[in-house]
């Protein structure tokens, strides 16, 4: 049924018009597509790509925050941050599990990540330089992620939608934790306020870039929208995020680093400046501050621990052999 059965299977479907039409009808009727249901190859492929990217993002996302756990300023913050990063690992796990229902193994996906052929959210290619960054990441990065994730709870593919529901439930404390950290800093000493403002300055634009390229240049969107894998456009979500977040920043007494930011009474939205799309594409291509460092760390962890995984596999085999000879 799941990955182990489908690995190597060609999963061919006869994709004539009638088939595609029938499939689209199921989607339009808000039916959930489940692992063994017939589905267009392009649907399966798009889902694997999207779910895998999401999973990789959670895994790489553990690194910028993970590097501050040992330096968290209080016991309460240390515990909360460790729990948050653990959740992120868990989210990656749920997502790999969802991807595996589509006929690809976790090992293959991890291999793609470590080889550098898979994409993950480029926000994690920015460094976490101060404790305030931990606040900014929780507030802005998790905030942006939540904007993306809530609509995905209604995605057409059953396992992905269920994984997203679980993730969204767990995610609610992440953003609150980040905002609380920023709050305390913003109301604290001069040094703390400066730290918070500096973190906001560095994470604001990269957070907006999390919603992807502008609708005009996004190549995957059309089919994804029709198949209810994607439920809102990049620009729609980006605007939603800005509208939600600007008042939060004002409440903190911090300034958003955008001189073009202004409230448009007519439209009922916050207008914001043009993103630096050069920077966006550079980071996506692999030229961000931490791209190489992140992968190096994951590769190192993977390689240095190969002996552990091999030992576990060898032990399981020995055990199975012992059970077999005991039974005979």
């Amino acid at each position: 049924m799941y990955a182990q059965g489908l690995i190597g299977a060609t999963a061919e479907t006869r994709e004539n018009e009638a088939f595609l039409e029938a499939f689209q009808q199921r989607i339009d009727a808000e039916e959930k597509i489940e692992p063994r249901d017939p589905m267009p190859a392009a649907y399966r492929k798009t889902l694997v790509r999207q779910i895998a990217q999401h999973a990789h993002s959670e895994i790489v996302g553990m690194l910028p925050e993970g590097n501050w756990i040992t330096r968290a300023p209080t016991l309460r913050r240390k515990i909360a941050l460790l729990a948050k990063v653990q959740d992120e690992g868990g989210h990656g796990l749920y997502l790999y599990a969802a991807a595996e229902t589509l006929g690809v193994s976790r090992e293959e996906l991890v291999d793609q990540l470590l080889k550098g052929t898979a994409k993950y959210s480029s926000i994690f290619n920015y460094p976490a330089l101060t404790w305030a960054d931990i606040g900014a990441i929780g507030w802005l990065v998790d905030g942006a992620a939540i904007m993306n994730q809530i609509p995905l709870c209604r995605c057409s593919y059953g396992p992905y939608s269920r994984a997203m529901i679980r993730i969204c439930k767990e995610e609610s404390f992440h953003q609150r934790q980040g905002y609380e950290i920023m709050s305390v800093l913003a109301k604290g000493s001069d040094a703390q306020r400066r730290m918070a403002q500096d973190a906001l300055n560095r994470f604001w634009w990269p957070s907006l870039m999390m919603f992807g390229p502008p609708d005009s240049s996004s190549k995957h969107s059309d089919k994804s929208m029709r198949w209810k894998i994607k439920r809102f456009t990049n620009d729609e979500l980006r605007q939603k995020f800005v509208d939600a977040t600007v008042p939060q920043a004002h409440h903190l007494g911090l300034e958003i680093p955008d001189s073009d930011l202004r409230w448009n009474e007519e439209r009922g939205h916050w207008e914001f400046g043009e993103l630096d799309w050069n920077e966006f594409w550079n980071v996506v291509k692999g030229n961000g501050p931490c791209n190489k460092q992140r992968l190096r760390q994951r590769r190192k962890a993977h390689a240095e621990n190969a002996w552990v995984r091999e030992a576990a596999a060898a032990h399981a085999q020995k055990r199975a052999e012992r059970n077999r000879s005991a039974a005979s």
Binding site: G66, I79, G188
Partner: protein, 249 residues
């Protein structure tokens, strides 16, 4: 009804803080995604217990709080056993360090559930369940690493040999500890030793590992004389509190 001495509570608190910190270092570096979560769980358990113990110690001392105690003492003022500050040389060291520590803490917390100190009884009630799982987790990994591949056996045997001399400290009794025993606050380690040995020896043997025969034991943690590793650990732990003194976080 008796009350623990704050110095005794701090020893236990330090044990859990330092080991919790070592486990937190595995974040992003574990062998599998599942182990990332397992190690984080154990780290969270230990840090949670540390927090309870620091809170209690600060209550007993008065005029301080859990964070001042956890973050602002000098190296020689930390009284954890040397075993817990041992660096994460590799996954095998981490597993064996956990096995040695938890095989002690599980029966120890069990005994503390009958402590004359009410607060320690309460903390122990929760901690004993957590420690049971820590023993199980480290035991199972010891079996897989010891009785896995030739490479894993060699690596984990090295860890066992290196860490063995740090186990004696768990059972040390000094004047402070004797007072705690007399007040029935703490158990006699002599009563813990057989359970500890049984768990450890049975696990190592089943894992096809050699049980070291070395009898010389490292010491010094309980009087604040540490290994070189602790200084570096504290540098990271204390950085924010030292760089930004007297601020709220």
């Amino acid at each position: 009804m008796a009350q623990a001495d704050s110095k005794f509570v701090l020893r236990l608190a330090d044990d859990h803080l330092i080991l919790g910190q070592r486990l937190a270092e595995w974040c992003g570096h574990a062998p599998t995604l599942e182990e990332e979560l397992s190690h984080a769980n154990i780290g969270l358990d230990l840090l949670g217990q540390a927090r309870n113990l620091f809170a209690y110690a600060s209550q007993l001392l008065g005029g301080t709080d859990e964070d001042r105690l956890a973050f602002l003492r000098l190296e020689h003022e930390y009284k954890n056993v040397l075993l817990v500050e041992f660096p994460n040389e590799d996954f095998g060291y981490s597993v064996i360090r956990q096995l040695f520590f938890s095989a002690f803490m599980h029966p120890y917390w069990q005994a503390l559930t009958s402590s004359a100190d009410a607060e320690l009884r309460a903390i122990a009630g929760q901690a004993v369940k957590e420690a049971a799982y820590h023993v199980r987790h480290s035991r199972e990994w010891t079996l897989r690493l010891g009785d896995g591949t030739e490479e894993s056996r060699q690596r984990v045997q090295t860890a066992v040999d290196d860490l063995w001399s740090f186990t004696g400290e768990l059972f040390e009794v000094d004047d402070l500890y004797r007072q705690m025993m007399e007040a029935q606050v703490a158990p006699d380690p002599v009563s813990i030793a057989p359970t500890w040995r049984e768990t450890v020896v049975a696990t190592l043997e089943e894992a096809t590992l050699q049980v070291p025969t070395e009898t010389w034991m490292q010491t010094g943690g309980r009087v604040g004389r540490h290994t070189e590793a602790l200084g570096h650990l504290l540098t990271e732990l204390q950085y924010m509190q030292r760089a930004y003194p007297d601020m709220a976080w």
